[in-house]
Amino acid sequence: MAKLVMTEDETMLADSARGFLDSEAPVKALRDLRDAGKTHDAALWKKMADMGWAGVLVPESAGGSDMGSAAANVLAHEMGKTLVVSPFLSTAVIAATALRQVSDARAEAALAKIATGDVTYALAVDEGAKFDPNAVQMTAKPDGNGFRLSGKKQFVVDGGLADRLLVLARTDNGLSLFDIPADRAGVTRDASNMIDDRDAARITFEDVEATGDDLLGTVDQAMDVLRPALQAGQAALAAEMSGLTAGAFGMTVGYLKERKQFGIEIGRFQALQHRAAHLWCEIEVTASAILHAGRMLDHDPENAALAVSLAKARATATAKLAVQEGVQMHGGIGMTDAFDMGFYMKRARVGAEWLGDYSYHAEQVAALRGF
């Protein structure tokens, strides 16, 4: 197994990302977007693409840097720290990973456009309130050389504004994955008013045409393409949540050192010290799971399922604890919109649900560990 230490390259990548994001996308950027009623910043995404982030998982042949999942996780982690709004996970991680499972010219072209930041994607899987790809009921009925898609999706993250949609639907003998433009006839998108102020949509498909070309991978075999994409997305989301955790925890420890109550710094209160220390221990343990998931995806992707579920489960639980302690230790001020902690709490909740919640991944772990 590859070593569980950040490589020099990874450390440099993190440092440069941090430098860029501190100036271009601090938490205030999210606040400004929200106050302006927006859920996406196209200019920021373009800059990120120019830095090569959009192509982090795109093969070099298609103009990407092909740095691998661990590197993508490093970026996601840094973005999490300041709650950066971008289609990075949907497009650069999930869609790119799906597309690279398919070796054809169309996929190669799509990957090239991802790398340049010229196209954004959203993944449409969920149909109920919980992530459950195998329960998908949306139909793709054979129609001539193609299919007709009918059904409803919800919690399509980045789905309100994405250029293209990856849509999971049920075909005759299994599930199939389609890659269609979001403006195709019969597609209706309703933006969801999300608590994390980001783009997500409920999407209705009414007899939407999909040609054979729109099929990604083999018919009835969606999981060959989707599984790696989901795993890459789950790991990167876990990394984003660990960044979010680090951001919230940093604010909290800073507050403990500076805020005085009853005449002394509240960080002198041993009960708070022990809770902060416990939280740090949880954060450290989660960091190992996330690093491990990146290593497994890069070096042994066939066997990465356990590592990925471990990372997502741990990241979810740790982020929840971090934002809860963050709000509580900040007291009333932590509950005000003027303070950033609430943004962390709300994103942690959305991250907890997306691509499978704690319980979903815990059951995956149980199944893989034989109980």
């Binding site: 997500a200 708070l272 509950m335």
Partner: protein, 392 residues
């Protein structure tokens, strides 16, 4: 035996009255923010039924059932009060009126006020005519409530009040405020505070909502600039306002803890709510089921504890510092309940005004439960020192 007969007679009479007077629309068990009737001069009724229900209940004293009849209540004893709540719950009746006047100022006046003050202030509260808010906290004070900086300068027949309060819930919708004001700046921290009643329409009073992470703004900042407060608008003695505040804090803790407890029998089972949103198979997710069972058990037991303390208090065994326990356990539980509701709601719960209504806003709102009215940490320290007698 005859006591029981009296109680059962009361139950029968009440049941008949409710049948006749509680509008059908008010029998939906409405518990969410927008189902509440707060009253006050700025109040707009959400429906004619809401208005009818308030007026009919107020006429019988049922907005404040345990207050004496002369102050607008129904004068119910503890047994009758239990029956009242049971019968209200039986038909899922909404509370006809809620307010800080009922929860907070009323009890303070009943305990510390003069007869004149009670006659003057209580009936308008009971009828929902005057809405009150609370002015305790100040910016930067946090858990240290006694560090009051807002000053009242003695001007003979009145105090001249200057300063700022924060977390004044619904101050922008209130008519009057009861506030802690420092009337002696030389005395030790707890000894120079007075408990004053201030008209929000007085010149020099200004208020501004604070936007919260839940999107709603129940809290405000309230500013006082040279506000004249007549001397008769004090509750209790001058510079002894901390006694009133402490009494009310205890009261508030019990109230807040009750909000989370769902009480024995009365509240809907958390699991049942979860099972609904989990779909037809019910609550099969092992993690959610385990958490829900634990939460349900704790909710029922905390509800029983609230009942026990009320019974003890009636039996002359005061709850005293144990109210800190109720506040701590009740609010921590309520936060857990809402975490579970969010879990169960999945992505449906992640939208403002989504299919589950304001579930996310309610969830975020609960995070303040363990801060307002004394943080969980302060509650634990109270228990540690005053109940367990640990040093420090």
């Amino acid at each position: 035996m005859s006591g029981n007969q009296t109680v059962e007679a009361f139950r029968a009479e009440l049941r008949g009255w409710l049948e006749e007077n509680c509008p059908q629309e008010m029998r939906d068990g409405g518990m969410s923010e927008d189902a509440i009737c707060w009253g006050g001069t700025q109040w707009t009724f959400s429906s004619p039924a809401q208005k009818d229900w308030l007026e009919r209940a107020a006429a019988k004293g049922y907005t404040v059932p345990t207050w004496p009849v002369e102050y607008g209540g129904a004068g119910l004893n503890r047994e009758e009060e239990k029956v009242f709540h049971e019968e209200m719950a039986r038909i899922n009746a909404r509370s006809p009126l809620q307010s800080f006047g009922i929860w907070m100022l009323g009890p303070a006046l009943l305990h510390f006020g003069t007869h004149e003050q009670k006659l003057h202030y209580l009936p308008p509260i009971a009828r929902g005519e005057i809405r009150w808010c609370q002015g305790y906290s100040e910016p930067g004070a946090g858990s240290d409530l006694a560090s009051v900086q807002t000053k009242g300068a003695d001007q003979g027949d009145h105090w001249l009040v200057n300063g700022q309060k924060i977390w004044t819930s619904y101050a922008d919708k209130a008519d009057w405020i009861f506030a802690l004001i420092r009337t002696d700046t030389d005395a030790p921290k707890h000894k120079g505070i007075s408990f004053l009643l201030i008209d929000m329409n007085d010149p020099g009073v200004e208020t501004r909502p604070i936007k919260m992470i839940s999107g709603i703004s129940p809290f405000c900042e309230t500013f006082f600039s040279d506000v004249k407060v007549p001397k008769h608008q004090i509750v209790g003695e001058e510079n002894r306002g901390w006694d009133v505040a402490k009494y009310l804090l205890t009261h508030e803790r019990e109230m807040i803890s009750g909000g989370g407890a769902g009480l024995s029998g009365g509240g809907r089972a958390l699991g049942a709510i979860l099972a609904e949103s989990a779909g037809e198979d019910g609550l099969t997710d092992a993690t959610l089921r385990a958490d829900a069972m634990r939460c349900e058990i704790d909710a029922l037991a905390i509800g029983l504890t609230l009942e026990r303390y009320k019974d003890q208090s009636e039996a002359g065994q005061g709850a005293g510092d144990a109210s800190a326990m109720l506040k701590y356990m009740g609010t921590e539980l309520n936060k857990q309940r809402h975490e579970l509701l969010m879990n169960a709601g999945g992505s449906d719960a992640l939208e403002w005004d989504g299919p589950l209504g304001n579930r996310a806003g309610d969830w975020l709102r609960t995070k303040a439960n363990s801060i307002e009215g004394g943080t969980s940490e302060v509650m634990l320290s109270i228990v540690s020192r005053r109940v367990l007698g640990l040093p420090g």
